[in-house]
Symmetry: C2
Subunit: 252 residues, 2 copies
């Protein structure tokens, strides 16, 4: 039995609680959040607290708070013999070096409370300051049954930037697609099969080889038509910058 | 029985041939391509030709050639009583106005020959110059069983720009993600679950509401860290432009 405390009830804390609650050989000792409100509906199933000084002993403390709060919160934990791990993509392992056993337990996924996720498909990127702590985090990760990757802090930082490109920036391109559809009275659903296929294609084909479209073909006429159809200056600029980036990528 | 001729053996022609070949009540009368080579392996199952003057009569002619060649090729068809339709996103219906019956049969999807697609999920955007031609294209589309949308030329042009954003540009962001991974010895597969979930999420949540990340949060420290981690000037510029675009989008 691995005893786990979850600190934070944001998106990551919420989903880690949901999966660990139903994971065999894992016991959620406590769920802490700064305010009680998001914890109230779980009080019947999981011990909850909004008082950090009440935090009990656990084998693993999973810190699921926003980047800026990781260090100030960790200081309040006092001395702990369990593994204190954060779950952030862009924070180094060393942020928790005050603890004898510390690590990183980074689920590489986008989480919203409105959408359930399947942890069996979520890569868990692990790192720790000693082999025993790493082994314990690996044991915990293996119980969730997701793919496990040993990723050091420098790699994780790069991975986080890459994640911003393929997730945050990609979602923004979807939002622009939706806006263009709205402006022309076309239902956005028309684009959903294309979006799904674009994401699906790269499971078997490197995105480098999957590239198509007027930018790659250097189809000047279509490119000019597209830019002149866009009325929003930011959209125009994005179109031009992304087109140039594609052309430079393949001219290399 | 609808008699169809396919003109062109590029990605769209290839996939339309594949699906129509197996569609009940549809007969592929002929498959034309400028050169014989891509047709050779189908010569046993479909009548093929590389001589446009040999083109027989059909109910529907599907022109599946690149945008710039649609008009010059169509001139060579001479007079036709069947519906002559192109399959291009960014070409107006009027490009074929020389024909008594003309239309557009635009499958909104990204096609590569290496990857099979399921036409049951591919929106077919239809337009025609008269109700009879539109009815025939609708009948053909309904046999393929994909979702049908009646989209006029102006809407289709906008849709094509939107498709460039959600497909070509998105794929380029995947390619950059892959490049960053390579540069830091991280397998690109680590990002695949995130890519799949990002695309999946917008089936139930508008991308406008699904946005997350440091740009939206205006998390200056992370944004600066990310830009300083990128060494490629084009990547830096993309990061900055997309970040600014996200912030302007939500400040509106």
């Amino acid at each position: 039995m691995i005893k786990v405390s979850i600190l934070g009830a944001g998106n990551v804390g919420y989903h880690l609680h949901a999966v660990l609650q139903n994971t065999a050989d894992v016991q959620i000792v406590q769920w802490y959040n700064r305010t009680n409100t998001p914890l109230l509906k779980y009080a019947g199933t999981t011990p909850t607290t909004n008082n950090i000084s009440e935090l009990k002993e656990a084998d693993v403390y999973l810190i699921c708070v926003s980047d800026a709060v990781i260090e100030p919160l960790s200081i309040q934990l006092g001395e702990r013999s369990g593994v204190v791990a954060h779950t952030a993509g862009s924070i180094a392992l060393s942020a928790l070096e005050a603890f004898k056993n510390h690590g990183v337990f980074y689920p590489l996924q986008t989480f919203s409370k409105q959408k359930e996720v399947d942890f069996k498909n979520i890569p868990l990127c692990l790192e720790a300051n000693n082999p025993e702590s790493l082994a314990l985090l690996q044991q915990l990760a293996s119980k969730i049954e997701g793919p496990i990757h040993l990723i050091d802090s420098a790699q994780r930082k790069a991975l986080h930037v890459a994640a911003v490109f393929v997730n945050n920036f990609t979602n923004h391109l979807y939002a622009i697609g939706e806006e263009i559809c709205k402006d022309h009275q076309v239902p956005f659903t028309v684009l959903q099969a294309l979006i799904a296929e674009t994401a699906d294609k790269i499971k078997t084909l490197s995105p480098q080889h999957a590239q198509t479209g007027p930018a790659l073909r250097k189809d000047k006429k279509t490119l000019e038509n597209h830019v002149s159809l866009l009325t929003d200056e930011t959209q125009k600029q994005l179109y031009t910058t992304l087109t140039r980036s594609i052309q430079q990528f393949y001219d290399k």
